[in-house]
């Protein structure tokens, strides 16, 4: 008989906290001997601080956050690891209806590819400049987030300098829709359900899911302090197993309705179940007057090795931190980034379950899991990639 291990995990109200909620609510954690307590948090900074001081053993974390903590960028240096990913994709870029109208005048067509949409946005940005209007303001959820990097990647590839041509601000997910309604921001990049909520209440139009910018893109991780993981190796293993099985449960279409009802509760995401179910079932409604359309591979909670903590994901995040001036390249940091995502711990936990595991820990990001501008990220050619951007 396994003794029960108490684990406290912090999370932010977003669709991709689903595997954690399911691990608790559907008994996967209990079955692995984990007595799981979930604590809803209101800001990413709180997640980080409460992990540091030990209020949380582990947390629903932005992938780049774990790296920032390990490297000590912007805050304390606390070696942090990610023994698993909590899924792939799930984000979108939404603009105010007013900005969408301006983009449409410049040729934007709903549902078209990010290149065409970005070109229309660029024309709208230039038109504003000529008219002497203030630059557009875009929001993302945290400086060290896939959202920040995906938004910047798209803007830059379409000829818009994210630091000069637009203003980029941080606004936490639950406040985004109101900020757009009040005209404080013209667009945002966030995870579901907040894009669909903006569309449903009639304040925004979804420009593109970010999976059209980077297919099978890395997103949240299960993060914990390295020191905690070293002291509790069996708990890490049990937790990874429980969350992995929960993520598998989330993928099954017959569970989607139950999952949306679970997450809709105020103590979890607190958004209407119908809106949550869109993202869960890989659908998006782009505009209030449109019907939901299928978006293949929009959000993967488990499929396609979605929980595998690829070293190449960590390295791509690090490349973007350097690209956008958050940190300067250093070989020491590179080694620490490599040690932040921990495929070895994932393998250790899941091999006994007979889980399907990839052969390598790292892969070339591009091609099948490609970027919309056809660039390829080869983690073995890290510095070459930096020079090219």
């Amino acid at each position: 008989m396994m003794s029960s291990r108490a684990v406290v995990v912090g999370f932010i109200p977003l669709l991709d906290c689903a595997p954690l909620v399911v691990a608790l609510e559907k008994g996967f954690a209990a079955a692995e001997g984990v007595h799981l307590t979930l604590v809803r948090e209101s800001s990413w900074a709180n997640i980080r601080d409460r992990l540091i001081v030990g209020h949380f053993d582990a947390a629903h974390m932005l992938g780049p956050m774990a790296i920032a903590s390990t490297l000590g960028i912007g805050h304390l240096k606390v070696p942090t690891i990610a023994p698993m990913s909590l899924g792939l994709g799930g984000n979108a870029i939404t603009v105010s209806n007013r900005l969408w109208d301006a983009m449409a005048k410049h040729g934007a067509v709903a549902g078209s590819n990010p290149r065409l949409l970005g070109e229309a946005l660029q024309l709208a940005v230039r038109a504003r400049e000529r008219e002497g209007k203030e630059p557009l303001t875009f929001a993302m959820v945290y400086p060290f987030s896939a959202h920040n990097y995906e938004l910047r990647y798209w803007l830059a590839a379409c000829g818009i300098d994210p630091d000069r041509d637009v203003r980029l601000v941080v606004i936490p997910p639950p406040l985004l829709v109101d900020a757009m309604r009040e005209g404080q921001i013209d667009g945002f990049c966030v995870g579901e359900p907040w894009n669909s909520l903006a569309v449903t209440v009639g304040v925004g139009t979804i420009v593109t899911p970010t999976t059209s910018i980077w297919r099978l893109s890395a997103e949240k991780v299960l993060g914990c302090r390295l020191e905690w993981a070293q002291r509790h190796p069996d708990t890490v293993t049990a937790l990874v197993r429980a969350v992995y099985q929960a993520a598998q449960w989330c993928e099954l279409p017959q569970n989607h309705e139950e999952l949306s009802l679970l997450l809709a509760q105020l103590r979890y995401v607190g958004a209407p179940a119908g809106i949550l179910q869109l993202g869960i079932s890989n659908h998006l409604r782009l505009h209030a007057s449109a019907q939901p359309v299928p978006v293949p591979d929009f959000y993967l909670s488990a499929r396609g090795n979605a929980n595998f903590p690829w070293t190449s994901h960590a390295l791509w995040f690090y490349s973007q931190m350097i690209r956008w001036g958050q940190v300067e390249f250093s070989p020491t940091d590179l080694a620490q980034v490599r040690a932040t995502f921990r495929p070895d711990l994932y393998r250790l936990a899941l091999a006994p379950l007979g889980a399907e595991l990839p052969f390598a820990d790292s892969k070339i990001e591009g091609g099948a899991s490609g970027f919309f501008d056809d660039r390829v990220f080869d983690p073995e050619a890290f510095t070459e990639y930096l020079h090219a951007t």
Binding site: S43, A45, D49, H75, P172
Partner: protein, 201 residues
């Protein structure tokens, strides 16, 4: 930061960002009592960044429940119009200070260059004030709970008096006897009477 400000502690500009009026007032009072004269409270989250640029604070306190913390952090990391405060604490080894602050529910951002001893005493004031507020809130919650419990006992008594034609005293002693026999709290028994009555209605 100008040198004169570093040396003259009383003139340090302190900013409190808190939507909770009472807690902000308690913290403001504490800081003023400690001799800081430049204390500003911001409750309105609109144009937070503009306000901060205008106030140009040396230390910012924010309630940890406030999701706008993330907005602040980014300002410090990338903004060119705000001087760069260091996130939260003076000394990177000071996890005790962080822990005390997080426990109390207060976050602090300190402009780089402020003397460590000063920051510690300002932060200590903030932490003890936040703790005082939390204690007050607990007491308030307890008082409210006591009131709710009394209400439920009153309601259960009323139901027994009406349904069984008992006097108030007899109704109360019946409830108390049931509680003693079942080894439960009086309010729990009263609550089950109220619930049962509602179901049977």
């Amino acid at each position: 930061m100008t040198d004169s400000k570093t040396h003259n502690d009383a003139s340090l500009r302190l900013l409190i960002v808190d939507q909770n009026v009472m807690r902000a007032a308690i913290l403001e009072e504490g800081l003023r009592e400690s001799g800081y004269v430049n204390v500003t409270v911001v409750r309105d989250m609109h144009n937070l960044m503009r306000r901060i640029v205008d106030i140009d604070p040396d230390v910012i306190f924010i309630d940890l429940e406030n999701p706008n913390r993330d907005v602040l952090e980014q300002m410090f990391q990338v903004s060119r119009c705000v001087r760069r405060p260091i996130a939260m604490f003076v000394d990177r080894s000071d996890t005790d200070m962080i822990e005390a602050a997080v426990d109390a529910g207060v976050g602090a951002y300190v402009v780089d260059g402020l003397r460590k001893e000063r920051v510690k005493s300002i932060l200590d004031t903030a932490v003890s004030r936040f703790n005082a507020f939390n204690k007050l809130r607990e007491e308030l919650d307890q008082a409210r709970q006591a009131l709710d419990e009394r209400k439920v006992v009153e309601r259960a008594k009323g139901i027994l008096m009406k349904e069984r034609g008992l006097s108030e005293e007899a109704a109360y002693s019946l409830l108390r006897k049931a509680a003693m026999n079942e080894n439960r709290k009086l309010t729990e028994v009263a609550q089950s009477v109220v619930t049962a009555a509602r179901l049977l209605r």
